[in-house]
Symmetry: C2
């Protein structure tokens, strides 16, 4: 009987869900809005119904072995989502408990970046690696750290929050309440802020002077940079320099074989990877130099969220078999 | 038959060696000079002879199960010591190979701070912890990171070099060739440099104005601080503030249950721990606050080097039995 795992990725706007086999084939994939529901119960009711409906369409009566969930502040130990700044529910949500009752299946919850890291290990470019880090560059900067082949969750489940290492004391205001966090510089919103800083500081001509702060997105900045826009190019240099300097600090922690860069800003490719790599190397001790890769995620972007979440189940399943 | 493990701790000046059982009882302990030998072969010959001689004095014919070695830049994967700035041998030393041939026993080599971390787990305050960090504050700042119950060695064996996270771009000159590394501020030599900086910047009276840079040591600074010397007190505040700020960055990496502080500067107790704890808490996101301990090592200082090194063998031995 064919075995499949369900993956759910809860984002600030959309909740994606789908179903994948161990080889990374996705059998269905859909989404609902995360926002706009009366309360959490109404949301989870719509989500469960949608998944049940999709499961009923699967051919060949496959065996569903579990549900993996990636969500901001999702905690592997407690099975709850707590204090997630970008989600509409402000109480502690016992998500694992609710979904286990609803589906009578094992459910594993962690944050989206940790799920991306396990996804990289199960389906992506880290299949043969025991020590690596996934950096997700979206609205914020998320990270999943793998050491000795295991995701590092820490004693409380909250390890791997590299978006909140300090870059500058009294630097940019961060959503977490602190100032100068890495994600206020190195993320989709970080580079947007940098563009506006540069437009303020310099008189350089730029096509981005015609775009409002709220309308500006990473693709516009990438496109402008590819056309040679000096402000856009400078913003990538600046972003990469800050990110690379901080990755050098991560190297002295866990000495990974590779950093996988994932998400919106990562789509800019060499525009972001080259200055990041340069700054990282410049800040490494000699015995770390020229051996740590910075590479794009090996997961197919369109399926990545589902693969990341469902990989949590495959990883656990295979550990049990050993 | 009683089982014992040999521990060897290679320092810049002395090489300590001894023999411990699983309960942390030390059956012999001695040392030779690390320096002053014609070459590495002459050194290792004296070391081996001394250990053989001590073993021959053990009563009750115990079984020696292996030799653990802690040494600067000791690499667990290659079994070599390479490019250690504080050791007299400038080539790559295949220490594990040499000792295995000499003693016909399994030999495990890693750096001294990693050995201290395993020692904390086997014999010290981390017996029930799966996620913690040991910080050694000696001439430099060393660290051993344990996550999911395992020492984090990284893909190349060089993880856990927190002494070399950057504190200030273009900050103090470090022995590693970079500038502004944490250990140039937070270590025995770091606080010594800070004292001289403060003596230069302020006119404040201080008993330390009568002591030369080379004569000044951590105990003198602690003693002066305990007598209320303002420069000494300010130096502890400054050191703790820099260390604590960086420990907050380590928390977002591996979210440890505790930091164990070990070595010369750690003997200053609350003088260093209180400002470190304060600065760490001030720089943490809310969900990390008030739950991470900063505590002195639970290893007996006089036996710590031997226990750390021999614990490498016990840890491996017990993993094999499982």
């Amino acid at each position: 009987m064919k075995k499949l795992a369900i993956g759910i990725d809860i984002g600030g706007t959309n909740t994606k869900f789908g179903c994948a086999d161990r080889e990374g084939n996705v059998f269905f994939q859909d989404s609902i809005l995360t926002t706009g529901h009366k309360d959490f119960n109404a949301y989870v009711h719509q989500l469960s119904s949608s998944i049940h409906q999709k499961i009923s369409t699967l051919e060949g009566n496959p065996e569903i072995i579990g549900i993996g969930v990636g969500a901001p502040n999702g905690n592997i130990y407690t099975g709850t989502i707590e204090d997630a700044p970008n989600l509409p529910w402000k109480t502690k949500i016992p998500l694992v408990n609710i979904l286990e009752k609803e589906f009578k299946l094992p459910v594993i919850l962690t944050n989206d970046a940790n799920a991306a890291a396990i996804g990289e290990q199960v389906y992506g470019g880290a299949k043969d690696m025991k020590d690596f880090v996934v950096i997700t560059l979206g609205t914020g900067l998320g990270s999943g750290i793998v050491a000795n082949g295991q995701l590092v969750y820490g004693h409380d489940g909250y390890a791997g929050e590299l978006g909140h290492v300090n870059v500058k004391p009294n630097g940019r205001q961060c959503g977490c309440g602190k100032r100068g966090c890495l994600e206020t510089y190195a993320s989709a919103t970080g580079i947007q802020r940098t563009i506006y800083k540069l437009l303020a500081d310099y008189n350089t001509e730029s096509e981005l002077r015609d775009i409002s702060f709220n309308a500006l997105n990473t693709k516009m900045i990438s496109d402008a940079a590819k056309r040679g826009d000096k402000i856009a190019l400078q913003a990538f240099e600046y972003t990469g320099e800050i990110l690379g300097r901080k990755l050098a600090d991560t190297v002295v922690h866990t000495s990974p074989e590779a950093f996988f860069i994932f998400g919106g800003l990562a789509n800019a490719g060499s525009l972001i990877i080259n200055p990041t790599k340069q700054a990282m190397e410049d800040n490494l001790m000699s015995f770390y130099r020229n051996k740590i890769k910075i590479i794009p995620s090996g997961l197919d972007g369109a399926k990545a969220a589902i693969l990341g979440a469902s990989s949590l189940i495959w990883k656990k399943y295979e550990e049990k078999q050993e």
